[in-house]
Symmetry: C2
Subunit: 204 residues, 2 copies
């Protein structure tokens, strides 16, 4: 351990004591419980991954989780396999037909998005689920596969206590407006730029 100057230690203690007071006051001022609409957007990595991390958190607390994948059916197989360990406490629905540039068929994409949205509505109505993840819903809205006003209206009117996580780049302004918590994942640096390929356990 490095030598610590007693004066520095005391400054640290005083600073942290003050920080703790501010923190405690802040925590005490938050009193409402509320099912949250959480949005993970932006061009960076981690939008879906953080949603599945929240699933883990809910499962660890004894809750159940519904997942609807709107677009990228071929992806996230690692998470799906791992979450299957939790049996019927995870209800996973891969409704998308792969990336939009794979299908190249607009009416097929629209039909798939509509089926996915119906499934999402079922899961959101089912009181068994404390958390519903609508993975890549933002993409379906961005391409107008679904009507934004209808979808955001249904999310805003979700049953009390239900947490919903919506992922995908380019979240619509109405979605941001309706959300309680919005995180934008920004890409600072990416290994693909150095020629490194997608690897199991990391990208899927």
């Amino acid at each position: 351990m490095p030598d610590i100057d007693p004066a520095a230690a005391e400054r640290h203690r005083a600073k942290m004591a003050n920080r703790k007071r501010v923190q405690d006051e802040e925590v005490a001022s938050k009193t409402r419980e509320k099912g949250l609409l959480i949005v993970h957007t932006g061009p960076g990595k981690g939008k879906s991954t953080a949603a599945f991390g929240l699933a883990l958190r809910t499962l660890g607390r004894g809750g159940s989780v519904g997942v609807v994948q709107f677009i990228k059916g071929a992806w996230e197989t690692g998470e799906r396999t791992a979450l299957e360990t939790f049996g019927d406490r995870v209800s996973w629905h891969t409704m998308g037909e792969g990336f939009t540039w794979e299908t190249q068929d607009l009416s097929r994409d629209v039909a798939a998005a509509e089926r996915a949205w119906s499934r999402a509505e079922e899961l959101m109505a089912d009181p068994r689920f404390g958390l519903v993840i609508l993975d890549e819903l933002n993409i379906a809205l961005r391409y107008d596969y679904l009507d934004t006003a209808t979808v955001v209206g249904a999310l805003a009117g979700r049953r009390e206590g239900l947490h919903v996580v919506v992922t995908g780049r380019n979240a619509r302004p109405a979605m941001i407006e309706a959300a309680d918590l919005v995180t934008e994942m920004a890409l600072v640096k990416h290994h693909f730029a150095a020629g490194v390929k997608a690897q199991p356990g990391i990208e899927f």
Copy 2:
């Protein structure tokens, strides 16, 4: 389903076919496999949660995961409980003594960080682990509880094939420099501002 104009459908098809060509070329150009140093930083939510989502991905692929929590020992209990489902494929070490403003004791914080770093070195050396999560390590570096050059040097010299995720705000420039993938989580909107409190399954 809305009526789709055939010309619009064809424009969509042509655009997506072109997108797929670009995508396929890009994927073909990535040929290297490499254990990645991944950094989740920034003031937004989801840094640790996305790291635990990656743990899920690794577990779903049959791998094992090591976790060292450098700072916030009292947090992330939901994830920990859920990951315990995977038995000895998850090795979880809570080494921090809570938030820095809880301990108010610099030498205790430094000692805790040093113990955590020793544990991190053990896990990184153990070939059983495909992924090691160093949760809130950036905080320990920011407060100079650990020497940045020593830590970043050890991370850069990690064994081949090992993925490491480092989380926490205010990542040091040397950490960003050494990383393969850096995501900055930006806070767009937070429900605490609306007086909503930390809730199980979401914040912990």
